[in-house]
Symmetry: C2
Subunit: 411 residues, 2 copies
């Protein structure tokens, strides 16, 4: 594909206008929206409003006057359509890890007589840590974590298993699980499933209700563009609401938080997953960021995501300088999320050399370069330019310069 | 005391200049800093910087370039001197409720053979809810919550008790516990103590190290002025660090978060209380807010807090229109935090009438009016004016107007 063809793709891109809704530095090609989404202008404007107007002038009155108290529900309801979830099933709160803990506790308690939580060795480590922590609480009898290696998930499912805990998109390779199929297979054995949608929400079409999903958690700061460390969310299917019991029973999840009752009585529905006071500044900014999804068809978004990923893979394959980079993502777009991973022994240094050239990718240990494609603010031209800069870095071997081997705290 | 005397107090107030570091609406008398602190100008400026400069332009590079990754530790170290804590013992993260859960889990696990958690019926309900949630997890055998009524705390302490969980300042009345004395009494019985410092931090001199405190949690959005729902903090005495084990073992508390190991290995020290990705916008703003405490002597702050409280109580007592209001806070300043509570059957409506007159207090069910005194931005004149407006509201009985009885979501 030549540059003219690439430019032509941009002219017919139905999402091309969305880029104007984001702040993006001049000349930066940002391929890390899978790690931290770019800043929507609406987010910046809200951050000024919530400080200048709300906190600054309304102070405590903001809880009513500026609807702070409703933020967890309002934001949840804005995320719900991106998940294929009917209203009343999504709430915004805490971090993905804290939310996973709450959902794990609740789901294990629902499975009386079963206590095994099954997950995959290459699941996102943060999720494994949370399940490990819960499994070691007290006498270690609340649940048992079984982590298996390989792809034979269905072989792990028997009637001792309480829960299957999986991440939809593999954080390194972008490989997709089939949520519908695995949820059905688990249900056939009486197993509940918790899906981590960190790398799916806001970029892949999801149909959680239709797929019969039980619980899901996800992240506000990747493709939802909610800002660094933005609050996360929980999806809980309505059929499970009457059975929810989670130990982080904070006052915001109380049926009547301002009654200041001595005892806890859970709010109805998904709201009982709330715990403490929400971080209003961060959650308000996420709320505003979600406005960029108004009128966006998730199938159109996915089509563009696939086109960007295929263009990237094709350009890599066509370029002789890039033969040393090994594609470790699935080749078939239908099996891949919105990211592509390439392996190379010098991946860390290559990543640093790219960043110096204003192509922002990221590195994952031990040898993985990740490139994420956020279709709301990336063009086909961006992909073309990024691959050519990558080819320059590889051909020149500039990455072997010592300055690129310095280890940073965050990779 | 006449108005001239009150004005005189302001002229000799060593903290008078601090008010200029805050945004405060014209003509508002803000007596709710115990619920949500006012906005420091530095906080507003940081919120612009962290969006415009950091997220907007540095994007993912902000984790290193803007030190986002160090925020939990940096903010913790800024809070430490306000607690009387040597470095390495305070970390900023999550909400007070989530943090209390972590500390409860860890402290109960440290007390092998004991599992009773003792608390007071009039403790902050949110804290009781968290302990209740933990006590009901699984088979309900991790810990047992015993809530007693009345003031005979020491009578509750025997060798079945693992933990004593108390709040330093009573959220309704402002009544103070003697941290040093109760911690010692508990230790004498082999009991650990968890202190909630939500209404103390940033307004009362604290000496946690000297007092031998084990663990404490506290809030970022009251007297620390960190903004609505600002992240909270944990104090853990260094002598306990080797014994910490908490189940919210998220990746930010891992010894090497970016190694993406399959198994969890806790970071050393207080950092192992971290869980998920911190809300950078909210935590950055709290970080900036803490700059107002630079060069503030906590004893000087306390002296002003006491003066404001005594002035308020004296003016109430001197005013014939205010005889219907019953002081339910301790009369002695040494037994009271930085707030004064008055009871009245129509407290809700009186509070609304005050708010309409731009005197911001708050209501706590069933019949309590709370007035908080944040010495960094309140003057003695403010107290004088507030009491006179309160006297007008009471004398005119304007509060009995129907419009003030409307119930809001947040009281």
């Amino acid at each position: 594909m030549n540059y003219q063809d690439v430019l032509q793709q941009d002219t017919i891109d139905p999402l091309a206008g969305k880029r104007r809704e984001f702040v993006l530095p001049d000349n930066m090609i940002y391929l890390d929206g899978n790690s931290l989404g770019a800043m929507p202008i609406a987010a910046y404007e809200r951050s000024r409003q919530v400080t200048e107007q709300q906190w600054g002038l309304n102070l405590i009155k903001g809880w009513n006057a500026d609807d702070w108290i409703d933020l967890p529900t309002m934001v949840g309801e804005k995320i719900a359509p991106l998940l294929g979830a009917a209203p009343g099933q999504v709430i915004c709160c805490d971090s993905t890890s804290v939310n996973l803990f709450k959902v794990l506790c609740s789901a294990v308690e629902m499975q009386q007589g079963r206590s095994v939580v099954v997950s995959q060795k290459d699941n996102f480590p943060a999720d494994l840590y949370i399940a490990e922590g819960l499994s070691q609480l007290g006498q270690g009898d609340f649940c048992e974590l079984k982590v298996f290696e390989g792809s034979g998930i269905e072989d792990q499912l028997d009637d001792t298993v309480a829960l299957l805990m999986l991440t939809h998109v593999n954080f390194r390779t972008g490989k997709l699980h089939d949520i519908r199929k695995l949820t059905k297979a688990a249900h056939d054995k009486g197993i509940l499933v918790i899906w981590d949608l960190a790398h799916s929400t806001g970029v892949l079409p999801l149909s959680l209700d239709e797929w019969g999903v039980d619980f899901a958690v996800g992240c506000g700061y990747k493709y939802l563009n909610g800002g660094p460390g933005a609050p996360a969310f929980i999806y809980a299917a309505e059929r499970h609401h009457a059975s929810i019991r989670q130990p982080l029973s904070g006052w915001m999840g109380h049926r009547a938080p301002f009654a200041f009752d001595e005892n806890y009585t859970a709010a109805p529905g998904v709201q009982q997953f709330l715990c403490g006071t929400p971080p209003v500044l961060s959650m308000s900014v996420l709320d505003a960021s979600l406005s960029v999804f108004e009128n966006v068809d998730m199938q159109v978004l996915r089509t563009k995501s696939v086109a960007l990923g295929e263009l990237f893979i094709q350009l890599i394959a066509d370029n002789d300088s890039l033969g040393e980079l090994t594609l470790i993502s699935p080749k078939k777009s239908s099996e891949r999320g919105s990211q592509v991973a390439l392996a190379h022994p010098e991946a860390y240094s290559i990543c640093q050399a790219l960043i110096e050239r204003n192509v922002i990718a990221d590195f994952r240990t031990p040898d993985v370069l990740r490139f994420g494609f956020a279709p709301l603010y990336l063009s086909h031209q961006d992909i073309w330019k990024a691959v050519h800069i990558l080819a320059d870095v590889m051909a020149s071997k500039i990455y072997s310069d010592e300055k690129f081997s310095r280890v940073q705290k965050v990779t």
